[in-house]
């Protein structure tokens, strides 16, 4: 520590060094290689790759897979909205009515997500299965036709995505709601605001940072997901993640897969940009 004491200004860089080097090597550099690969072309016979500034990979990818791209963002958007509608009242209830049980109640939200991602998705497969209890009852009630299915539908995929990313929505919401000074709400009511009005003018605006963080944290992984579409859907529900995954690992069409990865990232970044602008939360989220 004597050395550190003499070189105090170096200390932060020594602390940052190893971790940032790791991120530079295994996060930044790979993105560079992926970018390089997205501009390569594949020799159809030799199956070798050559770098050619092949920008057409991008336009080809969009032309061929715009259905899956649109579907990904549609599913992710719907799932994010439903997750918000489920999580907000739940987080509100824990934050304002939880009392000393708050931490235990939070455990009920986080706990389920320590069951392996794939296993909880398979559990939904069991629940929604054609021969399962739920589908059978719905058929008895004629909500579902005789050969109607729950599994292998868009609804199943969206429901799976909603479920799997719910804590990313609920936890930031809880944190922002829990920080609200209750006296502000009481003050609004003392000033003759109705409960609804106090909620709309005080609670809701103060919880915006949570809504902001929660929607982003849910939307981003949801847009890139392929597991729900794979296990709960059919190729008709394939998302862009499914295309990237199979092109990389099954078809070894690396340039197209790399181009699609960048398109996915770019769209997400643009959407985040628009969203940040619209909410103007630069200050609110610190």
């Amino acid at each position: 520590m004597g050395f550190l004491h003499r070189h105090r200004r170096l200390t932060p860089y020594l602390l940052l060094g190893p971790g940032l080097a790791w991120l530079a090597l295994f996060f930044v550099a790979p993105l560079g290689f992926l970018g390089h690969q997205s501009l390569e072309t594949q020799d159809p016979i030799e199956l070798t790759y050559t770098f050619k500034w092949a920008w057409h990979n991008y336009s080809d990818a969009i032309t061929t897979y715009h259905t899956q791209l649109l579907r990904s963002f549609e599913y992710a958007g719907i799932a994010t909205l439903i997750a918000l509608l489920i999580s907000y009242p739940l987080s509100y209830w824990i934050a304002f009515r939880g009392g000393r049980w708050k931490n235990v109640l939070l455990l009920f939200i986080v706990g389920p997500f320590f069951v392996t991602y794939l296993i909880r998705t398979l559990a939904w497969e069991t629940i929604l299965a054609d021969q399962g209890f739920v589908a059978a009852r719905l058929r008895d009630l004629h909500v579902l036709g005789a050969d109607g299915r729950l599994l292998a539908t868009s609804t199943a995929v969206v429901a799976g995505i909603t479920y799997n990313f719910l804590p990313f929505m609920a936890l930031p919401l809880y944190v922002s709601l829990e920080q609200i000074d209750q006296r502000l709400i009481e003050a609004a009511q003392d000033l003759y605001a109705s409960r609804v009005r106090a909620f709309l003018r005080v609670t809701l605006p103060l919880s915006l940072p949570g809504i902001f963080a929660g929607t982003l944290l849910t939307f981003i992984p949801a847009a890139g997901d392929f597991i729900n579409a794979q296990l709960l859907g059919t190729p008709n529900q394939a998302m862009i993640g499914n295309v990237i995954q199979s092109k990389f690992l099954e078809l070894t069409d690396y340039p197209a897969a790399a181009a699609l990865s960048f398109i996915l990232m770019a769209i997400i970044l643009v959407l985040i940009g628009i969203y940040v602008r619209a909410l103007g939360t630069e200050r609110r989220t610190g």
């Binding site: 520590m1 550190l4 200390t11 932060p12 602390l15 940052l16 190893p18 971790g19 940032l20 790791w22 991120l23 295994f26 996060f27 930044v28 790979p30 993105l31 290689f33 992926l34 489920i86 739940l90 824990i94 009515r97 931490n103 235990v104 455990l107 009920f108 939200i109 706990g111 389920p112 320590f114 069951v115 392996t116 991602y117 794939l118 296993i119 909880r120 398979l122 559990a123 939904w124 069991t126 629940i127 299965a129 021969q131 399962g132 479920y163 719910l166 981003i220 890139g224 296990l231 993640g241 990237i244 995954q245 990389f248 690992l249 897969a257 990865s261 996915l264 990232m265 997400i268 985040i272």
Partner: protein, 271 residues
């Protein structure tokens, strides 16, 4: 006297939020109950989808399925190595960010934030591209590298949250009383941030055990538990998978409960 329907309506109105919360909890816990329940199922076919009868066999012979034990061991080893490494690297970054002023803070924060806002599939794919270009054979250690990479950011965020509320006067007091920097760090700083570091370690461990997408890209012939489940999902779903899933769940929840209890006790002692 109000009529019964009116009373029911008034009750529902007063407790609508509570009812909603209970329904939401039910929804959250439903698949988990299915996982736990079906770990005791006695299936006759290859698929564990319908209830056939109760048995403890799956728990007693949890490793009867070829490859399952190896996959679980690989997952635990990878999680242990990667969570400890990521916690060390991430905690150092968090210390630097909270305790020191330096040039490049904004860039550092961005570099920490970006991996968390990049879809996992892009993280996995880009790492695979790196390994392919460098002719690195993917396997156990490439999985470790990947897990350390995506865990660093989560550790930084978790430890930072703990460090922000930290009173620097305590360290200054220790130094005024003659402790050198080393002693101050281990006797004052470390005990205060220990819960944050432990929480980060547990989170990193859990994320590592659970990761499928990034691992799937960089695993080579190594099979971790989620990869095993993925492979099994296409051919046959064994109840033993539910046994392991239930066990991981039970351990994680116990660890979290213990952490909550421990922090409450410390809070009482420090006050």
């Amino acid at each position: 006297m109000r009529s019964t329907p009116a009373k029911v309506f008034a009750f529902a109105r007063r407790h609508v939020l509570t009812l909603y919360a209970l329904l939401a909890f039910g929804y959250l816990l439903l698949p988990i109950s299915v996982v736990v329940l079906f770990s005791f199922n006695h299936p006759h076919g290859r698929f564990n989808y319908t209830w056939q009868g109760f048995t403890f066999d799956n728990w007693v012979h949890w490793d009867a399925v070829p490859g399952l034990r190896g996959a679980v061991e690989a997952s635990l080893e990878i999680a242990a190595i990667s969570s400890v490494s990521a916690t060390v690297l991430g905690a150092l970054i968090a210390l630097a960010l909270v305790r020191y002023g330096f040039r490049g803070r904004g860039a550092t924060n961005l570099l920490i934030f970006l991996p968390m806002s990049t879809p996992e599939i892009v993280l996995g794919a880009s790492l695979l591209t790196l390994f392919l270009t460098m002719n690195v054979t993917t396997g156990f250690w490439t999985i470790v590298i990947a897990h350390v990479m995506f865990n660093i950011s989560y550790v930084v965020v978790t430890v930072k949250a703990r460090l922000v509320g930290f009173d620097r006067h305590l360290e200054e007091a220790a130094m005024d009383l003659g402790a050198n920097e080393w002693t101050t760090f281990w006797r004052v700083t470390m005990p205060l941030i220990a819960p944050g570091i432990l929480a980060a370690l547990l989170l990193a461990f859990a994320l590592s055990v659970d990761d499928f997408v990034i691992t799937n890209f960089n695993a080579g012939t190594t099979v971790t538990f989620p990869l095993f489940v993925w492979g099994a999902a296409r051919a046959a779903v064994f109840p033993q998978i539910n046994v392991v899933g239930t066990a991981i769940f039970a351990v994680a929840v116990s660890a979290m409960l213990a952490n909550v209890v421990w922090q409450n006790r410390r809070a009482r002692r420090l006050v």
